[in-house]
């Protein structure tokens, strides 16, 4: 930060022709833009230009798009993807809203535990989640086998699109939970009190005052869920649902020999539609000032629950957590199981899986912590910078920066992976001379780009709730821009930034689709890849599950610790001890 604290100091020493005068923030913006263009736009362009190429002549053409819209299968896939994404947002909201509300609105024992537990679904690699969900909810999973035995019926939880919606909502609802909770916590109590003074209470208070004030967080979360589900590959593939856009793109790109341009056309359409959804969510938020001057009001007033309310609240929370944690219950059972086949529970239990796993997975764990850690740190630094530039400066093209970073959401991991292989092909790493395409840093870079949007959303939502007048006050008192950012803005954003770090880290730790293209040797492989390897053999299922459990525990612990920091931070503010 020492460079930016004296903006322009380097430029002063250089001839102005060589170094045109740009403010410190302008420089930062330019650097980020170059980074994003180099690591996101160029690799993606290297892949999707094929969409505009005539497969026969290599000439530029729009024929491929005509073919796309002319195909009933693709139109159906498009509709299915849309339907599944929308329904997942609905189901995810039903799961997240009560959890967020109860834990932030009431004095509720174990709020912190719920906030952490509620986050855990996000940190399970999608294919592991699907395996575990099949064991519990599948055609012949625990629940259906019991139902068949007792009542002779079965419920198709996991059939076709239903299965995708169920798995996706359980997997991605934390996006809504985490963003909504942060927003709810940051609401100024005086708003609520003013509404109460005017006679509003109960549902009306929630509907008219609390929820609208928490809107930035909710929309940020819901948009993320929608887009992630819209171009998620892993879940539909593992549930063998092919009639959706992302699987169609993947199936077409990754099959041997088939490089008909359709896969690339679909990638292009995925990118475009996701950008459109984001734009729509921005449009919705535009012109609404949600920031409140008096930060430090400590969020909504918490009240105690009456006994019967308490019972109800505990009941609701327990039921939701049971559903949401069912993949983890399945995973835990599997990791201790001997054989689990066509039975409600495993035949027997053993520790052998952990022994097998432990003997061969140390490297996977270290690699994962290094890659995901590097990626997440870079993400929150870049995310905070972009959020600040977009919302607090008038730098030309600042919106584009936001869109650029967010566009990473829309890029399927496989596309980014292939793009990186093409981009770094033939380049060498400075000093060591090994080929760039097989250097482990590339994996960390891919993870950084892919998880940047999460960090950015969280940082933006956090900044949205910091009033400009606080910064103006600091500047009026003589603080420089950089000092203001450092002493006022970032501390006020801590909760959001931390949420962004955890989201980026946790999801990067279990990412597979880009890494599977980029891993060039076993010793560079991250955890998700290790689980994938185990799960490819009949004898490795238990060991894979054991490794999955370790992943969940590591990231869960990290989440819990950061949650503690957020809570402590909040307490300081409420008691006015903050410096």
């Amino acid at each position: 930060m020492s460079d930016t604290s004296r903006p322009g100091s380097l430029a002063d020493k250089l001839p102005s022709a060589l170094f045109p005068r740009v403010s410190g923030l302008g420089m930062v913006a330019l650097l980020i833009a170059l980074l994003l263009i180099g690591l996101l736009i160029i690799p993606v362009l290297l892949v999707i230009y094929v969409a505009f190429q005539d497969p026969n002549t290599g000439a530029l053409t729009l024929n491929n798009f005509q073919d796309f819209f002319g195909s009933s299968l693709f139109r159906e896939s498009f509709w299915n993807s849309f339907y599944v994404s929308a329904m997942s947002v609905v189901v995810a909201t039903i799961i997240a809203l009560p959890l967020a509300y109860i834990t932030t609105r009431f004095n509720f024992a174990g709020s912190m535990v719920i906030q952490s537990l509620g986050f855990i679904p996000l940190i399970m690699p999608p294919f592991v989640g699907a395996v575990a969900m099949q064991l519990i909810f599948g055609r012949n999973g625990t629940i259906n086998l019991l139902l068949k035995e007792k009542f002779g019926v079965s419920i198709p939880f996991m059939d076709g699109l239903n299965g995708v919606i169920l798995v996706q909502s359980i997997h991605y609802f934390p996006f809504i939970l985490i963003n909504l909770s942060t927003s709810l916590r940051n609401i100024d109590r005086s708003m609520e009190e003013a509404a109460q003074n005017l006679g509003s209470y109960g549902m009306r208070l929630f509907r008219r005052v609390v929820f609208p004030l928490a809107m930035p967080g909710y929309i940020a979360g819901a948009a993320l869920v929608f887009i992630k589900v819209f171009d998620d590959l892993g879940t539909p593939l593992l549930l063998n649902v092919n009639n959706m856009l992302a699987p169609q793109a993947f199936l077409r790109i990754s099959s041997i020999g088939i490089s008909d341009p359709m896969g690339y056309v679909i990638s292009f359409i995925l990118v475009m539609f996701s950008i459109f959804s984001l734009w729509a969510s921005f449009l919705f938020m535009r012109g609404k000032d949600y920031s409140t001057v008096q930060k430090g009001g400590g969020g909504l007033s918490k009240r105690d629950l009456r006994t019967h309310e308490k019972i109800m609240a505990y009941g609701v929370v327990a039921m939701i957590l049971l559903a949401v944690l069912s993949p983890h219950i399945g995973l835990t059972l599997l990791s201790f199981a001997t054989i689990w086949s066509y039975a409600p529970l495993p035949d027997g239990y053993t520790m052998q899986n952990f022994v097998t796993m432990w003997n061969s997975s140390g490297e996977y764990i270290t690699n994962t912590v290094i890659y995901a850690g590097l990626a997440a740190v870079a993400d929150i630094i870049i995310g905070t910078a972009i959020a600040y530039i977009v919302m607090r400066t008038k730098i030309f093209g600042r919106k584009a920066l936001d869109y650029l970073a967010t566009a990473a959401l829309a890029v399927p991991g496989v596309v980014l992976g292939i793009g990186y292989l093409r981009l770094f092909h033939g380049m060498e790493v400075p000093f060591s001379g090994e080929p760039m395409a097989s250097w482990w840093v590339i994996i960390a870079l891919a993870l950084m780009i892919r998880r940047l949007p999460y960090a950015l959303r969280a940082c933006t939502a956090a900044l949205q709730q910091v009033s400009v007048s606080l910064e103006e006050a600091a500047e009026n008192l003589g603080a420089s821009k950089a000092r203001t950012v450092k002493k006022i803005v970032v501390p006020l954003m801590t909760g959001g930034i931390l949420a962004g770090f955890v989201t980026s880290f946790a999801t990067a730790a279990v990412e597979l689709s880009a890494t599977i293209m980029l891993v060039s040797s076993d010793s560079d492989a991250p955890l998700a890849y290790g689980i994938y390897l185990f799960m490819q053999t009949p004898s490795g299922r238990g060991a894979g599950a054991a490794l999955g459990l370790v992943a969940v525990l590591i990231v869960g612990l990290g989440t819990f610790l950061s949650q503690m920091v957020v809570e402590r931070d909040k307490k300081y503010r409420m008691s006015g001890q903050e410096q």
Partner: protein, 443 residues
């Protein structure tokens, strides 16, 4: 940058990344085989060749091919090691494989009716595998079913919703199963057979391992799988079993030296080791269970292990697998399977179910009108968009292949157009077939 600084940096890099293997002679192997198979082989090889470090890189066959294609020119891989001969053909066609030129003794030219090595010497067979039916004993017991022994048994109505298979476009090994039946039964009859079997599918899985996995967990009861999945699942303790049908092909699993391999000698040493009696015996490890290509190794095999070299063995003998025919229409067959079965599984399943119910109702009666309707419905389901001659037409097949050979080359239609035509046809046929069958059932 002087060498001292460079050395220090390299040392620092080593210390941080925990890559320990720099000192040893490194052989990089790209493989689709699971680590339960590569592990024991790697251990045996490294024990026999101290100083050589085998670096195993696991990728799905298709991803492995893509990886080698993308790396061409700055290649870091030494060995490509996978099941599907087709994947090797693709790499060979792109000139990405070096001539293996390894020496071995005691290995015959063919296994079943399939040549073990590539005639041009670009890839070498080290083990064999055949396709068959795997089933979950508990599942079948729970649903009162008998194991299916032949492909045609899988068409029976009692298996409706109980069968699983992978798509040929997703798994090179499954492609071979599909092509084997097409060659064994003939194009039209073969496709009809597949559609009736597919009408009983519970699912089409995305990975080939999804099938044994589904059978192991009891998600579905029977699966069309490659033999070692069946053997190794059984060896891991799952309540499953496996059998070869009469019409099946034995095909070698292969290994090749990648063109311009950084360590070509190391690569050859590894391949030669695999072909020695010691290397072949590792294949009998309970977690691997592949058929060795050296007939002598079968003497060490456990009881009940199939031996294709034994006198009078029928495994793999029934089909004369034509690898050139297979290669000529590789992508086309994948595309047809996806259009007619994978992507339209729901339509196909409803149509087949309707026919099964109508047939059950009129099994004994002599309602000629109903029988005619059923026959018409069957013909609609079986109808193929193209005949065998067209499937082997090089110009038509070129629509489905990847590369333009020359800039001036043009192909009549685009793949998406062709597929849309097929899709319209099969969706309409399946719908009509269901309608007719339901009408017959109502009589």
């Amino acid at each position: 940058m002087n060498s001292y600084v460079r050395g220090t940096l390299a040392a620092a890099l080593l210390a941080t990344t925990s890559t320990m293997a720099m000192a040893a002679d490194k052989v990089v192997v790209i493989t689709s085989f699971p680590n339960s198979m590569t592990g024991p082989i790697e251990a045996a090889f490294e024990a026999a060749n101290p100083g050589v470090d085998l670096e195993i890189l696991n990728k799905k066959t298709s991803a492995g091919v893509k990886y080698i294609q993308e790396l061409a020119g700055a290649n870091t891989a030494d060995v490509f090691w996978a099941s599907a001969p087709d994947a090797f053909e693709v790499l060979k066609g792109d000139n990405l494989l070096a001539t293996a030129s390894v020496t071995s003794t005691g290995i015959p030219d063919t296994i079943g009716s399939y040549p073990i090595n590539d005639p041009d010497g670009k890839y070498i067979g080290f083990a064999a595998a055949g396709y068959g039916i795997m089933w979950n004993e508990r599942y079948l017991k729970g649903n009162d079913l008998e194991p299916a022994k032949e492909w045609s048994d899988l068409k029976n109505p009692e298996y409706h919703g109980h069968v699983g298979m992978s798509a040929p476009s997703r798994s090179g090994t499954t492609h071979l199963t599909v092509e084997t039946l097409l060659q064994g039964e003939g194009w039209d009859k073969g496709w009809a057979e597949w559609k009736w079997i597919a009408g009983n599918f519970a699912t089409v899985t995305e990975r080939s391992f999804g099938v044994p996995d589904g059978v192991n967990t009891g998600n579905f009861g029977l699966g069309i799988v490659i033999d070692f999945f069946g053997f190794s699942s059984k060896a891991s303790g799952f309540p499953v079993d496996f059998a070869y049908p009469t019409v099946t092909a034995l095909v070698p699993a292969n290994i090749a030296v990648v063109n311009e391999a950084p360590n070509g000698d190391g690569a050859r040493a590894f391949i030669e080791y695999l072909l020695t009696p010691a290397g072949q015996e590792v294949l009998l490890d309970p977690a691997i269970m592949r058929l060795p290509v050296n007939p002598a190794t079968y003497e060490a095999a456990p009881k009940g292990f199939p031996n294709p070299f034994a006198e009078g063995s029928t495994i793999g003998a029934a089909v004369e697998f034509d690898v050139f025919k297979s290669k000529a229409r590789y992508n086309l067959v994948n595309s047809m399977f996806d259009v007619m079965i994978t992507y339209r599984l729901d339509d196909l399943r409803s149509a087949v179910r309707a026919v099964q119910l109508a047939e059950a109702k009129h099994a004994t009666g002599d309602n000629a009108e109903a029988k005619a309707l059923i026959a018409e419905a069957r013909a609609l389901i079986e109808a193929n968009p193209i005949d065998e001659a067209q499937s082997l037409d090089a110009d038509f097949a070129a629509t489905f292949t990847k590369k333009r050979k020359k800039v001036t080359d043009t192909v009549g239609e685009r793949q998406a157009q062709v597929e849309q035509g097929w899709d319209t046809m099969v969706v309409e046929n399946y719908r009509r077939a269901q309608e007719l069958a339901e009408k017959a059932a109502a009589m």
